[in-house]
């Protein structure tokens, strides 16, 4: 929020952070009656399921189509919540009577559970910000707690991302503190909460192997065993019971539902958008040139039915191909982590890994962009270049979440949230970072960063918060896309080409995402 004069005392510092947090807390409470997606019923059903059934039935139950498809720890988390839900209103946790129940009691309870569980996220930012200067810390705090993406996805659409990302941040904070064992342990726990976070596992593996397991063959091996034991213990606690029940295959089949398409119904703004578009363009061109191209029978979003390919010209994409591509994209970062594992780089590397997973992964949901937007907020306050980059990237990713809230009631909400975010970033980055008395270490870092100024704009002051004309026009273009898809498209085309607005948003945001990803890649490659 608005300016605070620089103060030195830490109690003052904490007071500011509490102020920002509580302000966000009360605002999020106001959002209780807003629209919620089917994820709301999914989580309600899981409350009922974990409350009414024994552990051995959790992954077998089919009372509702929303079967349990998160790893065991998340189910335990729901089980823990269901205890309180039962006290609030027993219907919430009734397996049969509670189906599609959306009375005020369940809405208030579940919304509050998201808000309260988000305290893990706040704890994570608290840990990560301890070594930062006052201004940076406040800024970082604002970026995370008031992140429009998080508000849209968690507090309106309904999910528990804040809680899960909090666990990730706690793990990263431990790694930055050189407490590798704790970092590895927390990350293993996170994987047992939500397996989608496994995208960063290669970075974790390489980093921990090189940073933790060193100091000679003997000591290194001992540490490897140690880390292996800790991680294995976490997995045993999570999956052991299901191995015992002989359900482990059932659990995995729930967690990895194969047969989903390459893209989600609304295309996440990633690399595959370009691939699909290229295929379309090529097929049209080739048909015009007289080639006989058969229109694809399968769709991108549906499952891989039979052998038919959803592409007319380009080779079909398999899950394995996406996996290889993700690893390939991640490899420069893995190489750097191997060569010189530095704690101060780990947050950026992990965020980069999630970025790769988002751009090249299989059946990626647009919500997955939160996995790198939130950690990059921590990186954003490190230098002016990072701030500039984050400014663009977080706007694009928040905007790409707009289609999640498609109802009219939430329209002003999402627009104002993003506007506030843009103003706060602009105000924060331009007035706080440029004024900061740079401490010795970060001054050195800054010097390095200046060398990587991608824009090569020798005329601009690297410590001044300005965007170059390409970035400026790109962001203004975002406004045009929004105006077209919301107002002009319905006015001119009516109900014709109903897919066009969403497709435009996907493609346009995909450009920004690719640019942003390449910037990070470039930064990582150039770093020492």
């Amino acid at each position: 929020m608005p300016t605070k004069p620089p103060t030195t005392s830490t109690s003052k510092n904490i007071k500011d952070l509490i102020f920002i947090t509580l302000l966000a807390f009360f605002f999020k409470i106001l959002l209780i009656p807003s629209y919620h997606s089917t994820d709301f019923e999914v989580h309600r059903h899981w409350l009922a399921l974990t409350h009414s059934l024994p552990l051995s039935h959790w992954y077998l139950d089919e009372t509702s189509p929303w079967t349990l498809d998160y790893p065991p720890f998340f189910a335990h988390f729901e089980h823990f919540l269901s205890f309180f839900a039962n006290l609030v209103d027993p219907i919430i946790v009734d397996l049969h009577k509670g189906l599609n129940f959306d009375g005020p009691s369940v809405i208030v309870f579940q919304r509050l559970s998201v808000i309260v569980s988000e305290s893990v996220l706040i704890y994570g930012v608290y840990l990560l910000g301890r070594k930062c200067g006052f201004r940076e810390r406040v800024l970082m705090w604002v970026l995370v707690v008031w992140s429009p993406g998080l508000v849209i996805v968690d507090h309106v659409h309904f999910q528990y991302n804040g809680f899960l990302l909090g666990i990730l941040l706690v793990s990263l904070a431990a790694l930055e503190d050189r407490n590798d064992l704790l970092g590895g342990f927390v990350f293993a726990v996170l994987l047992c909460f939500k397996h989608l976070f496994a995208v960063a596992a290669p970075v974790y593996f390489v980093y921990l192997l090189r940073h933790y397991c060193r100091g000679g063959v003997f000591k290194g091996f001992g540490r490897l065993v140690m880390m292996g034991t800790v991680v294995a213990a976490v997995f045993v606690v999570a999956y052991g019971p299901f191995v015992y029940y002989g359900q482990i295959q059932q659990v995995f089949s729930r967690m990895f539902p194969f047969g989903r398409g390459l893209c989600h119904a609304y295309w996440a703004p990633n690399f595959w958008v370009f691939y699909i578009i290229l295929d379309k363009v090529l097929s049209v061109l080739l048909v015009k040139m007289g080639f006989d191209i058969k229109a694809p029978t399968a769709s991108f979003t549906g499952g891989l039915v039979g052998d038919s390919s959803p592409f007319a010209v380009l080779p079909t994409v398999t899950p394995l191909a996406t996996l290889i591509l993700v690893l390939l994209a991640m490899s420069p970062c893995l190489y750097k982590a191997w060569k010189n594992p530095q704690p101060r780089m780990i947050t950026r590397w992990v965020a980069y890994a999630y970025f790769c997973g988002f751009l090249f992964g299989w059946h990626v949901h647009e919500k997955a962009s939160l996995h790198f937007v939130i950690p990059l907020a921590i990186v954003a306050v490190q230098s002016m270049d990072d701030a500039k980059h984050y400014y663009l990237m977080s706007i694009v990713s928040s905007y790409s979440l707009f289609p999640l809230l498609y109802e009219a009631q939430e329209y002003p909400l999402k627009v104002l949230l993003l506007t506030l975010h843009v103003i706060l970033m602009w105000y924060g980055f331009s007035s706080q970072l440029s004024k900061t008395v740079v401490s010795n270490t970060s001054a050195q870092r800054k010097k390095k960063d200046d060398n990587y100024d991608l824009k090569k704009n020798s005329g601009t002051n690297p410590r001044k918060f300005t965007l170059n004309w390409i970035e400026k026009s790109y962001l203004s273009g975002l406004l045009l896309v929004e105006v077209w898809s919301q107002f002009l498209h319905p006015a001119f085309l009516g109900i014709r080409l109903p897919f066009l607005p969403l497709m435009m948003i996907s493609i346009y945001c995909a450009f920004g995402m690719m640019y942003s990803w390449m910037w990070q890649l470039h930064w990582i490659v150039k770093s020492h």
């Binding site: 608005p2 102020f19 104002l416 949230l417 105000y427």
Partner: protein
């Protein structure tokens, strides 16, 4: 050269800051508007939401002459228009918007009791739009006008003050939760105050006339406007001409607004009679004002006829606001003007005829404009204003936004880094702070009791009565203090002048 660029940067920074605060204030309003409105799903009369929608329907479907006239189509006993013409025009304009997007919601007669997703949304958006287009710019004008006269106020304090005015919880809850358009009349009033402070008396009085013509309740401020402007005119070279100019502007504004009803005395009186609903009695429900609170012991309604009560309330109101008016006539100053607005609004709230809980918004407005000078008084007033509206907001199912806005207000009031120098904390004695703590505890307890415990069957409105008593006592205390403060100003005001003369 360097200085100008710095000033430019400062200016830009302030603009960004104001934008930031406004967007946040709008965001909170949008979030509150997700909640239910008064009378939602409650036939046959619904609530204020239906009243406003009905006015759109009437003004769209009938010619202006018919708006205030009882007829088969316009049944005045069903939410008949009882606000001045500007409200009617505003309803017409908003009605056009609704008709464009959702014709069913304002179709004549068939839309009575209309409730729909889109209908609610469009109605909510009309309030948001009015707020953003009238109240917000008015507050910006006020802040710039008020602080351009006072050099040396810290930028953070100005930001804090702007935030506090824009995020007044009571106004947001009533306009965006309960559903009303107070932001228009209050916004026009703030605009008028800003104009007068910056020396544009004619613009100011014209704006205030518009406010009066939007809600007759704006008359709560009329004595202060009169006193201040009259006092200023007396100090000019040609007092008569100045007064004449102001009078002409007032008459002109009224004439323009009332134009459709000025063609015959009959239609003029018809409208006028709609604006003064004396048949509703001197008080309703449990308002924390003088008549309602004392009625516990003195049964005013039984002792006096309505006619004598009217006279009694009028004289009590005028008598109690007389000191603040006289002070402004004698020593007109911007600062004293704000106090005078507060005091006269208090007099009306306490003693005038037919006061509603929501009328506390009127004293709250000048109190929020004085928030930087009187932070603790303002904070105290807001707390009890909120409490006094709590039963009403509970009926509207607005407990969640009530709690959230209460929290946001307490946070913003105690926001770090702001207004340290303005906060008077040294002078509080232990006895006083103990009293404050006890009263705050009682207030918190009352909230909890009201929500959780059902009252004894013999006294179904026991808790409302206790809330009313507590709020009344605090309002009276604040009003006495602010009246005293206003008169103290004149001493401070005259003291430096005497010094100057001496020099």
């Amino acid at each position: 050269m360097e200085k100008t660029t710095m000033e430019k940067g400062d200016y830009k920074n302030s603009a960004v800051l104001f934008l930031c605060i406004s967007v946040f204030a709008l965001l909170v309003r949008v979030a509150v508007s997700l909640h239910p409105y008064s009378g939602a799903g409650n036939p046959p009369k619904y609530g204020d939401f239906e009243a406003q929608r009905h006015w759109m329907e009437i003004t769209l479907g009938l010619p202006p002459q018919e708006w205030y006239r009882n007829s088969t189509i316009n049944d005045l006993s069903y939410w008949g228009l009882d606000y001045p013409p500007l409200t009617a025009y505003q309803s017409y304009v908003h009605g056009l918007l609704l008709r464009y997007f959702h014709p069913d919601s304002v179709s004549l007669y068939s839309s009575r009791g209309h409730e729909s997703y889109l209908g609610k949304l469009l109605m909510r958006w009309t309030v948001l739009l009015s707020d953003a287009l009238i109240f917000f710019p008015a507050v910006l004008c006020f802040v710039t006008a008020y602080y351009s006269g006072q050099q040396g106020t810290h930028k953070n304090n100005i930001a804090w003050h702007t935030t506090i005015i824009l995020l007044s919880p009571c106004l947001i809850l009533i306009d965006h939760g309960h559903f009303q358009y107070n932001c228009i009349s209050l916004g026009l009033t703030v605009g008028a105050i800003a104009a007068i402070i910056s020396g544009k008396e004619l613009v100011g009085s014209s704006l205030f006339c518009l406010a009066l013509n939007h809600k007759q309740m704006s008359a709560y401020f009329a004595p202060a406007f009169f006193g201040h402007l009259f006092g200023k005119c007396l100090r000019r070279r040609n007092p008569y001409i100045e007064v004449l100019k102001l009078g002409l502007v007032v008459l002109g504004t009224f004439a323009v607004v009332w134009w459709p009803y000025l063609h015959s005395l009959n239609s003029f009186l018809e409208v006028l009679s709609r604006l003064a609903p004396f048949e509703r009695g001197i008080y309703e429900d449990y308002v924390a004002n003088f008549w309602c609170t004392t009625s516990i012991m003195i049964k005013w309604k039984r002792l006096f006829t309505t006619q004598s009560l009217k006279l009694l309330s009028l004289s009590a109101t005028l008598f109690t606001c007389l000191p603040s008016v006289v002070q402004q006539i004698r020593y007109p100053s911007s600062h004293g003007f704000l106090y005078s607005l507060l005091n006269s609004a208090f007099s009306f709230y306490m003693f005038s005829f037919q006061v509603h809980e929501k009328s506390i918004l009127l004293p709250l407005l000048p109190a929020s404009l004085l928030a930087l000078e009187e932070p603790s008084i303002f904070q105290w007033l807001i707390q009890f204003a909120l409490l006094s509206m709590f039963p009403l907001l509970c009926r509207d199912k607005l407990v969640i936004p009530y709690a959230a806005l209460y929290g946001i207000f307490i946070l913003l009031y105690n926001a770090p880094g702001w207004k340290q120098d303005a906060r008077e904390r040294s002078s509080t004695s232990t006895a006083k702070s103990l009293l404050v703590a006890v009263i705050t505890m009682i207030s918190v307890l009352l909230h909890v009791i009201y929500l959780t415990i059902s009252p004894p069957r013999r006294y179904p409105f026991l808790f409302e009565a206790i809330i009313m008593l507590l709020c009344f006592s605090q309002f009276i205390a604040v009003a006495v203090y602010t009246n005293k403060k206003q008169w103290m100003l004149s001493k401070q005001h005259s003291a430096p002048m005497a010094k100057e003369k001496h020099l």
